[in-house]
Symmetry: C2
Subunit: 293 residues, 2 copies
């Protein structure tokens, strides 16, 4: 495996977690990467070098795209698309571009338009926190990483991106952009919408006395159910607006399941409800076992 | 404050948490209670005495109802109703009966029919675990406890039940049974239904390849959103079937909020979506601050 010069563009939580794992991790494969970084705020990159998480800094996006044998864009979805269009012409002949965006179709389209050597990535990892100081060194350990090659991508480039994620402990899965976007609409985007609607339907109450009762009545189960609805509104606007069709389809899948349960309650068929609820619980336990979580 | 003989009927997690707090807690008020217990399985009660959580055992439900100055029923909702009907005639003249059932209307009806001196309770406390060994001594500390007196209940009896929960650190709130049942339909019952429907709409997939992708794509956000859907199907059947009307009304409140958000996505009005999602997040932070969670 030839040494790679990885340039991370954008130095937030997931970027710094990747850098810290590669620089401080103990896996043999991690030694294969020199790690450079670019951040709009220069002091962030300088601190990362000082902390030992980066081997060096790129001063501009142009330099970042020129320097890397692998360039990874860890930016909001619209900015990823913008950077691909603006800067991918600066890439070296053998360099390969990737990203960590939560939707892949619009990013792949931008890469195809720019004729960039691009392989999408989407690590299933995150916390509620953001920013470089929130880094979690082992965050990719055992995490599922979707690898999203455009049609006709070079096999060798796909493998180089898979190797990067495997080096930090990730389990890679190849998937097409359209399949990916439908998948995350179900597993992540719909849960965020539902959680937010649920939080609002419980907590948004004009009557002060009723609001106080609602606040008192909501307990730890509620807290977990709505946790993701406290995440960044800007980010969720960007994600959903770039995955609108798949999200609307996934919402309809959810509605079918929801109305099936509601009908059991309406029709007083609580034996059927018990079975349905139990089946959901079984699937949850099967999933937890598979994910070890 | 006169000493009370508290008899706990049913010795599960919440019951034993109450007993352990009263027997081992350091609050002055906790010393005011002698604590007796009845469990269908005698060895459970014997172990609780051995562990120092109970002062003594009642051998039968009749003895439990005869012994207590306060009797608290910590049983599934249908069994609470059954015990009230069967045994409340055994209560002493000044004794007062309470419970910890998650719905209050049907239990209050049973108590009124039996002409029992009854004040309902509903502590907002719990974990995923059940059984006497899952006890959590501080579980009622700062927990909201709904106190649900039937119309015409004696003020002195209400205060005695409030004092019991305050003794273990609970914050009591008075509420009527109908109001209570509508409240928990919103804050707890609907979230359980939505979570279960969500778990099923993501994980119940016949196609093996797609199922593997869904399992991989679901991450920590999903795990929290659906956590409550892994709880006891039997218990949830019992709760929902005893609160059907309030649950159907609360489901419709949730639907209104949900369709409002969905329409924003359909109409490509992502600025409105961002505002709505942000408002949900603000309410969540306001609630967390109020609940200190």
């Amino acid at each position: 495996m030839a040494e790679e010069r990885l340039v991370i563009v954008g130095l937030g939580m997931l970027a710094m977690s990747l850098a810290s794992s590669l620089k401080l991790g103990r896996r043999k494969e991690e030694k294969n990467y020199k790690v450079y970084g670019y951040a709009r705020r220069k002091e962030v990159a300088e601190k990362a070098v000082k902390d030992g998480y980066l081997d060096g800094i790129c001063a501009t996006p142009e330099e970042a795209f020129r320097t890397g044998s692998i360039i990874i864009l860890t930016l909001p979805v619209p900015v990823i698309c913008e950077f691909i269009k603006k800067y991918s012409s600066y890439m070296q002949k053998d360099a390969v571009l990737t990203d960590i965006g939560s939707v892949k179709g619009c990013i792949e389209d931008a890469a195809m338009e720019a004729e960039a050597a691009f392989i999408g990535s989407h690590p299933m990892a995150g916390t509620e926190l953001s920013g470089p100081d929130a880094l979690v060194p082992g965050i990719y350990d055992n995490a599922s990483i979707f690898i999203v090659p455009p049609e006709g991508a070079e096999e060798n480039n796909i493998i180089r991106i898979e190797d990067l994620w495997k080096a930090v402990g990730g389990k890679t899965l190849r998937i097409g952009a359209k399949e990916h976007d439908s998948l995350v609409a179900h597993t992540s985007h719909v849960p965020h919408i539902i959680s937010s609607a649920l939080a609002l339907s419980v907590l948004d109450e004009e009557d002060e006395k009723l609001k106080a009762q609602r606040f008192a009545g909501a307990a730890s189960g509620f807290r977990d159910t709505i946790r993701v609805a406290a995440s960044s509104p800007r980010m969720w606007k960007e994600i959903l607006s770039n995955n609108r069709e798949a999200v609307l389809e996934a919402l309809e899948d959810h509605e079918k399941r929801y109305y099936r349960m509601k009908k059991m309650i309406e029709e007083n068929d609580f034996d059927a409800f018990e079975k349905e609820f139990a089946y959901g619980g079984e699937l949850i336990r099967e999933w937890r076992k598979a994910k070890k979580c």
